[in-house]
C-alpha cells in the first residue's frame, strides 16, 4: 500500500476512491472498519452478522461513492449506509429474534459475576437489551457522536421522538445498572 496514502487527508482519499482507486479506499476501510463493525454489533447483537453488515455497507459505499457530493460528513454518510443495512437485515430476521426472545434465551451471566466483569461489558450488555429504537438512538448519539438532528434525519423519525428514545434509554440503563451492580460499585468502576 502507498505509504503516503496512510497519512492522506480524508477528503483526498474519498475523491481518489470515487475515481476508482482501490488503494485509497483500502485506507478508508482500515480507518472505519472498527467503528462500522462496533456500530453494527451494537445494533444487531451478533458478531457474525455485524461483520457481514459492516462489509456490505463498505461495498455499498464503494459503489455509491461517485455520487457522494460531500453535502454531509463522509463518516455520517457511511454510518447512514451501515445503519440502513443493519435495519434492513434486522427486519429480515425478525421472526428468528422473536423466537429467541420467546424461548427466553439469556445473553447475560448471573448477577454475582457482574461485579467481577469490566463495567463496559456490563453496560454493553444492558444496551443490547434495550428495545431496538432506543438502542439505535443511544448508539448513534453516544457511540457515533451524532446530533439529535442527524439521528432524526437518518432514522426518518421526528427529533422529539429521537430525543425521547434517548432519554428513556438512559433512564432504563440507569435503573438496570443500579439494580445490577448498585450505586457504590457503579460509581467506583465508572470513575476509574
Amino acid at each position: 500500500m502507498d505509504v503516503h496514502l496512510d497519512t492522506a487527508p480524508e477528503d483526498a482519499l474519498v475523491s481518489r476512491s470515487a475515481r476508482g482507486d482501490e488503494q485509497a479506499f483500502g485506507v478508508l476501510v482500515e480507518r472505519y472498519k472498527g467503528m462500522l463493525y462496533s456500530m453494527a454489533y451494537r445494533l444487531m447483537k451478533d458478531r457474525g452478522r455485524a461483520e457481514d453488515a459492516a462489509q456490505e455497507s463498505l461495498i455499498k459505499a464503494w459503489a455509491a461513492l461517485p455520487g457522494f457530493k460531500g453535502e454531509s460528513k463522509f463518516s455520517s454518510w457511511l454510518y447512514r449506509i451501515c445503519y440502513n443495512t443493519c435495519i434492513s437485515e434486522l427486519r429480515k430476521r425478525r421472526p428468528e429474534v422473536e423466537l429467541e426472545e420467546a424461548m427466553g434465551v439469556e445473553t447475560t451471566g448471573p448477577v454475582e459475576e457482574c461485579r467481577n466483569r469490566d463495567m463496559q461489558t456490563v453496560i454493553q450488555d444492558e444496551v443490547s437489551k434495550l428495545p431496538d429504537d432506543y438502542r439505535a438512538a443511544v448508539t448513534l448519539f453516544h457511540f457515533n457522536g451524532m446530533s439529535y438532528d442527524e439521528i432524526a434525519e437518518m432514522t426518518h423519525k421526528p427529533m422529539g421522538t429521537v430525543k425521547a428514545h434517548i432519554h428513556r434509554a438512559r433512564a432504563l440503563l440507569k435503573t438496570r445498572l443500579l439494580e445490577r451492580v448498585g450505586w457504590e460499585n457503579l460509581k467506583e468502576v465508572m470513575w476509574q
Partner: protein, 156 residues
Amino acid sequence: MKCEDYQGLLQDYVTRQLDPARRRLVDAHLLECADCQRELAVLTALVSALDHQPVSEPSAAFAEKVLANLPRQRAFVPSPWWALALAPVLATLAFLFRTPVASALSRLLDRLPNVPVQLPSFTASQVALFVAVALGFGLLVSAGAAYWCWQVWLRD
C-alpha cells in the same frame, strides 16, 4: 419547580443540550438539593461510560474480504438531471433530422394493417417534435426510475 422537574432536565444538563437560562436554574437548584446532586452524579457517570464505549475490531481478514468483493465496474446510474440536460439535445437532433424521421415513421404507419381511424396528416416538423418530446419524456422517466431504484438499494 419540583425536584422531579429538575431531574427531567438533568440528562440535557449533563450532555450540554440545555439552554443557558434553564442551565442557570438547574445550577441554582443543585446547590441546595442533595437528591438531585446524587441523580446528577449517576447520570454523569452513565453518560461518560456511554460516550467512552470501546471500539471493537472485526476479524483480521475483514478489510481483505471487503476489497476482494468490490465490484470491478461500478454500475452506471443515470441521474434525472442528466436526463433533463439530454432531453433538449435529443429534441434538437430530432428537429435537424425531421425529414428522415418523419418518412421513417410514415413508412412504419403504412405497414400497419387496417388502421381503424383516419390519422390526421402531420408535417415533418410536427412529427419530429412529437418524437423529440416523447423521447425526452421517456428518458426522464427511465432515469428517474433508475435513480430511485439506486437510492432504494442504498437504503436497504
